[in-house]
């Protein structure tokens, strides 16, 4: 089957004959007043000129040699096989798989994605993906909504951008959001227990949290369950490969940002939201779900399932307005995870942790640098410095190093991944030693 089938002149003529006009222009008869006559466009440029124009524009970006910034988007190594498979035209041009007979390839790909996310989070069901980690958190919280309860507790250490999206989704629905305080960078169990009143329907916690700290997710889970509320964890995929899974911590729903799974930083997107849930919540899952069934001949076949819950059918009664997914990004993650396998996922996680800990341990040896929290962290940590954060960041940029995120005048959130070599890290430390 050909990939693109334009109309031939003969076919166009046949259609014009049926309509009863002599030319395509005649179809616009009577609409001349709407035509824009003078667009004052400059003359066209040659392919070479256009290429040069965009190269110059791109050159205005500063591309750093070494990155120590995370805070929600992470630089990881992307094996070439990911881009190579992804650029197959069947995948790049595949549209919405509503017609199962035509879409077995992409449907199977999504089914594999769902399976991998369920395995990664320890959950029982997953969906075809959501827009990003922040909207996934908002949608996930709404999945736990109960008729007589209207409050949700959110840790102070949830990513600030995720919190903004959660507010956008929840406040217009009359849901109250209350924050749970931190203790040494971790969500405070005592504050949580004090705030777990009967009107709370869900508690949301990030693992690791925005400050890189590892939460005691299982203890939080126990407190949440004891209070009869739903438990949602926003997780980082590599952390899932190494820490106790959200399922094992008692979470009802696990959501997260899938960008680290083979997607480049791309200046903020496109990214990938994922969700895993306990089986009892399968009908509450927003977005698309791919299911496996058998065709007329008894062979494996894949279809979109549980569609009656989706927005295009339930309309204003739907749990969410999402009616799409991040198919290509989900496929990226699937290819990445299939390539990495459990072994490499754990290896990447391990390198992220050990490199971040090496960086932190060496950094605090520099006078004027200390860790804000003593709590155990994954691959990000916050420093408090005598020197202004701006000065540190500027000095790093001079040496082509992208420093961590400025949190305040004297605080920076640093990150290390498997991509940072020991030499890179030592180079950063050398620069930091020079900062006054």
């Amino acid at each position: 089957m050909s990939t693109y089938t334009p109309h031939t002149s003969a076919e166009i003529q046949a259609m014009l004959d049926v309509v009863g006009v002599k030319s395509l222009e005649q179809l616009y008869q009577g609409l001349e007043s709407l035509f824009v006559k003078d667009m004052d466009l400059p003359a066209g440029k040659s392919q070479q000129e256009v290429a040069r124009y965009f190269e110059n524009l791109a050159a205005e970006n500063k591309v750093f040699g070494s990155i120590f910034l995370g805070a929600g988007a992470y630089q990881h190594y992307i094996p070439p096989v990911v881009k190579s498979l992804l650029s197959r035209e069947e995948f790049v041009t595949a549209y919405t798989p509503y017609q199962a007979e035509m879409s077995q390839g992409i449907l199977q790909g999504i089914f594999e994605f769902q399976t991998m996310i369920a395995e990664l989070t320890g959950m029982q069901v997953s969906n075809a993906s959501l827009y990003d980690g922040s909207t996934a958190l908002a949608d996930g919280i709404l999945m736990l909504a109960e008729k007589k309860k209207n409050k949700v507790l959110v840790s102070e250490a949830i990513h600030p951008r995720s919190l903004e999206v959660v507010k956008t989704y929840l406040i217009p629905q009359g849901i109250q959001i209350e924050k749970v305080a931190l203790e040494n960078g971790r969500t405070s169990l005592s504050d949580l227990k004090a705030k777990l009143t009967p009107d709370v329907f869900a508690v949301a916690v990030a693992q690791p949290n925005f400050f890189g700290v590892i939460e005691d997710a299982a203890a939080i889970g126990e407190a949440v369950k004891a209070a009869g509320a739903g438990y949602i964890m926003q997780v980082e995929p590599f952390a899932c490969a190494m820490l106790k899974t959200p399922f094992a911590c008692g979470a009802d729903i696990a959501v997260g940002e899938g960008q680290p799974l083979g997607m480049p930083l791309s200046f903020g997107g496109p990214y990938l939201g994922f969700v895993g849930a306990r089986e009892k919540l399968v009908r509450k899952l927003t977005g698309r779900i791919v299911g496996k069934t058998a065709d007329a001949n008894g062979n494996d076949a894949y279809v979109l399932t549980l569609q009656a819950r989706e927005q295009h059918i339930r309309r204003e009664k739907a749990a969410s307005s999402i009616c799409s997914n991040q198919a290509l990004c989900a496929l990226t993650a699937t290819i990445y995870m299939a390539t990495a396998g459990k072994t490499s996922m754990k290896e990447v996680a391990s390198q992220c942790v050990s490199k971040a800990h090496y960086l932190a341990a060496e950094m605090v040896k520099i006078p004027g640098f200390r860790l804000k929290y003593s709590a155990e962290f994954f691959n990000e940590f916050v420093t408090v410095t005598d020197a202004p954060a701006d000065e540190i960041i500027r000095k790093c940029a001079e040496k082509n190093i992208l420093a961590g995120l400025k949190l305040s005048e004297h605080e920076i959130l640093w990150c290390a991944t498997e991509v940072n070599t020991k030499a890179d890290i030592d180079q950063l430390l050398a620069v930091l030693k020079e900062v006054k």
């Binding site: 009908r283 009656a308 819950r309 059918i313």
Partner: protein, 118 residues
Amino acid sequence: MSKYKYLKSHEWYCEECGKVGISDFAQHELGDIVFVELPEVGDEVEAGKAFGNVESVKAVSELYSPVSGKVVEVNEELQSAPELVNKDAYAAWMIKVEPSEAPKDLLSEEEYKKLTAE
């Protein structure tokens, strides 16, 4: 004289037994029913307001209560066998309500038949 009274939205109410369900016309229009979402025992229901929903392969439809009151019984069988509604819509009752007031503005069997004949 039929014991069933109806809402325009195709729910039936049996006053003498307090049970609520959907009509045969409704199950036929919906197609294969795959899930029925019902309230819990003790929940309050209000005449004309939704108390749950029924999901078929092609749609999810709200279930409206013909009467105000308290749910005293829920048909658990429908959780594992929602297709019972298609098999016999009148035997497959959904909830049993203890009314807080007499039901009003319900259609009689004849009036309902006329409505669905259109």
